[in-house]
Amino acid sequence: MNFAVTIDVRGVEGIADPEGRTIERALGSLGFSGASTVRVGKVITFDLEADDRSSAESTVREMCDRLLANPVIERYEITVSTSS
């Protein structure tokens, strides 16, 4: 079966996010008020061939742990859906 995988990778809670802060300042000086706690993360998408959803999910989790996310400073969230 073919699955569509989306992985959201974000900084762990409490870690500094200088890029987010800079964007927040820039939005402010462009006259957009009201935006706070801007944070920037990464999103990785791909198609995955797997036997079933649970094996797809466990494969993706392993990919994240070994390569796609850095547990020391990042956490990730996985979405696996059957491709249309």
Binding site: P18, E19, T22, I23, A26, S29, L30, V40
Partner: protein, 237 residues
């Protein structure tokens, strides 16, 4: 009379002193202009130097293009004033819509600081008027996001209209059509990824940047004369 050149500095810019030193060595009267100012202080040419304006956060040049000084730079460009963007300055000019295309991450995904050999494609731009088309020159490159890109239609158009100014001989960053520098349609705004100001003296490896800056100063002189003439004619009428 020496021409005046404004060198724009954003928080995070870092090549402004190098550009200033190069310009001064050619006898220009050059001055650093802070991004939060609005006046170009009578400059006859504007250079946006390299560096990491606003830390290159979000996208290179994305935040800088909203600085107050950029309104004046845009007006100056519209009026035909010579504007040169080097490296980060090139990125600012594309983000500001003064030059076509965009600069993406190097195809090798690594920052690259090395010497590049370039071919002069168009020798009538404000940057290359003292060179001949086909000349090969050596300039340092120093960037992580110098991979020039644009859609096929734009590429055909800029090739057609002679807006490609410089090409890499070998393509260190994966740019479309090996493009290292482009100009706008009018030819008075030019952006390039390599650093001419780092090639001013054989002591540092190459002196090929001198003629490029000299060409910009020539354009500035020309612009300053035409400015004065039109001011005169306005005054007389």
């Amino acid at each position: 009379m020496s021409v005046r050149v404004g060198v724009i500095s954003f928080p995070g810019s870092n090549c402004e002193h190098d550009v200033l030193e190069g310009l001064s060595s050619l006898g220009a009267d050059a001055e650093i202009i802070w991004h939060a100012d609005r006046s170009l202080k009578g400059a006859d040419a504007v250079i946006i130097p390299g560096g990491f304006a606003h830390g290159d956060y979000l996208r290179c040049g994305a935040i800088a293009r909203f600085s107050p000084i950029m309104e004046s730079v845009t007006q100056f460009a519209m009026a035909g004033g010579p504007v040169l963007g080097i490296c980060n300055g090139f990125q600012v000019l594309t983000e500001a819509g003064l030059l076509p295309g965009a600069l993406m991450r190097n195809s090798g995904l690594r920052f690259l600081c090395e010497n590049a050999t370039l071919e002069v494609v168009n020798d009538s731009s404000i940057l290359t008027s003292m060179n001949q088309a086909g000349d090969q020159i050596r300039l340092p490159i120093n960037h992580g996001e110098g991979n020039y890109t644009c859609d096929a239609e734009t590429l055909a158009r800029i090739e057609d209209q002679g807006q490609v100014v410089l090409r890499y001989m070998d393509n260190p960053n994966g740019s479309v059509a090996r493009i290292a520098g482009v100009s706008n349609e009018m030819g008075n705004v030019v952006g390039l990824m390599p650093h001419p100001e780092r090639a001013f003296d054989l002591l540092f490896g190459s002196a090929d940047g001198r003629s490029l800056f000299a060409s910009v100063l020539g354009a500035a002189e020309h612009f300053s004369v035409s400015k004065r003439d039109s001011a005169d004619s306005v005054g007389r009428s």
